[in-house]
């Protein structure tokens, strides 16, 4: 198996998850906190990668990061080189592509927290930031974990965007899924099998974690009740 590709994939997934959570937390809370056309448009934009073919997204990002567009020129000025076919470019693409997987579980989790708790905290003098971190986030912690697991796993498995945006540069942009594609092209089915198994393992582990969460929460609830 291509260990370099495995390491790159893990780095990419970890960085994507970390950055995405920083973006997704305030964004999801803002979406969950109200209604209106701006929020609906934002939600639609966030969900777009779910329905767009990854190659379409990859193509637009490739064009946007190139020297022909203003954002592309700005990024080239900041990083000193075009972002297409680089790890940084891949990271930006991964963040955009995995955004719905991080944002949507959080929106659902935040919406499940009754506004009564928010008002109770505000009625005790807590600022909106304090209400969010001390009341809302602890109550939505399983959604936070689901969001992180989905963002990580989805990044591990992405193919279309990576291929369009990063190409296939060993150590820089060749991820496990690209490596698997290469191995199959080379008819190296034994190695392809091992790589596929690793990718399958990630996906299965993620799903087990997500489906285990409700029973963990139930057990915690029972223990709390037994304290009586």
């Amino acid at each position: 198996m291509d260990l370099e590709a495995l390491w790159l994939t893990l780095r990419l997934a970890a960085a994507t998850t970390a950055i995405l959570l920083l973006i997704a937390l305030p964004l999801a809370w803002w979406i969950a906190s109200g209604r209106g056309i701006t929020r609906a448009l934002t939600q639609a934009a966030v969900a777009l990668p779910l329905v767009l073919p990854p190659t379409v997204l990859g193509f637009y990002l490739l064009v946007a990061m190139g020297p022909l567009t203003a954002p592309g020129r700005l990024l080239i000025r900041i990083f000193g080189h075009p972002l297409a076919f680089s790890f940084e470019g891949l990271l930006i693409g991964s963040i955009i592509y995995s955004t719905p997987f991080a944002v949507q579980p959080l929106v659902a989790g935040f919406e499940a927290v009754d506004r009564g708790y928010v008002e109770a905290a505000a009625g005790l003098g807590a600022s909106p930031a304090r209400v969010f971190f001390s009341v809302v986030l602890p109550m939505a912690r399983s959604s936070l974990l689901t969001s992180a697991v989905l963002a990580f796993t989805h990044t591990v498995g992405e193919f279309g965007v990576v291929l369009m945006l990063g190409g296939n540069i060993p150590g820089a942009t060749r991820t496990l899924s690209i490596s698997l594609y290469d191995l199959v092209q080379d008819s190296n089915y034994a190695a392809a099998n091992r790589t596929a198994l690793v990718l399958m393992g990630f996906a299965l582990a993620a799903l087990v974690v997500i489906y285990l969460l409700p029973s963990v929460r139930r057990n915690q609830g029972r223990q709390a009740d037994l304290v009586r």
């Binding site: 009754d114 009564g116 708790y117 008002e119 109770a120 905290a121 505000a122 009625g123 005790l124 003098g125 807590a126 600022s127 909106p128 209400v131 001390s134 009341v135 602890p138 109550m139 609830g221 709390a224 009740d225 304290v227 009586r228």
Partner: protein, 239 residues
């Protein structure tokens, strides 16, 4: 203030001058909406709310102070105890004396005792009865109001704070709390539709019906008619 909510068109004006004022009226008369407007959770369509000279909202100037910046502390009818925190942490949540944590602990102990909640400090809300949760919610607002580090005391807003408690406990709690809050100089505006509670508190009463203030004054004057009606019905039952 004027505000339309559900089927009620609220149009009320009053000034709080006594240590404890009770908003008295039937269900759906707009009492809770008045409390929520003062707390900042409802933005009245028209009106002006002023606390100790500080404008909390004014529809003509567009001023609106967000809830957490108001010199107001509130407890809703539902307890809304934070489920991840034990009772002590819930009680300390809104405490203002960051510089005097020892004093906060002392106040919490006193309030726990005042509300007959001794020994519950390390319990989670899921392990409490409905009555205990309700008392803790009121106690939490009291701790927040008492420990507020400010020259002007906050106004304490309590929505049906004693509804559902058994009579003996309610009587004891009511008188003890009233006395202690007066000593702490915390003004209170509470909501009730229980006649006995208003009389026991011996409070100033604002009678409200269909979104309008009917009368404001001492409980013996404002609720004399309701009291007489209750006594008559009791005599009928006794006779």
């Amino acid at each position: 203030m004027k505000h339309r909510v559900g089927g009620v068109s609220l149009n009320v004006a009053f000034t709080l001058a006594q240590p404890w004022t009770v908003l008295f009226g039937p269900s759906g008369s707009g009492k809770t909406t008045v409390l929520r407007a003062i707390a900042g959770f409802v933005r009245p369509e028209e009106g002006r709310i002023v606390k100790h000279g500080d404008v909390l909202m004014d529809s003509t100037t567009g001023e609106f102070v967000p809830p957490h910046q108001r010199l107001v502390r509130s407890a809703a009818q539902t307890a809304w105890l934070f489920p991840q925190q034990d009772v002590s942490s819930n009680l300390a949540y809104g405490s203002g004396w960051r510089s005097k944590p020892g004093d906060v602990a002392k106040i919490i102990q006193e309030v726990l005792s005042l509300f007959h909640l001794e020994g519950l400090g390390d319990r989670r809300p899921s392990a409490l009865s409905g009555g205990e949760k309700q008392r803790i919610a009121v106690a939490r607002a009291v701790v927040s109001a008492v420990t507020w580090d400010h020259a002007k005391p906050p106004l304490l807003l309590l929505d049906e704070p004693f509804t559902g408690l058994d009579a003996a406990l309610r009587d004891d709690l009511l008188l003890g709390l009233r006395q202690r809050l007066e000593e702490w100089r915390i003004p209170v505006l509470s909501v009730t539709h229980a006649l006995g509670e208003a009389f026991q508190l011996d409070a100033e009463v604002i009678k409200i019906a269909d979104g309008r203030v009917i009368e404001q004054g001492p409980v013996t004057n404002v609720l004399a008619e309701e009291r007489e009606r209750l006594l008559t019905s009791l005599r009928v039952v006794k006779g």
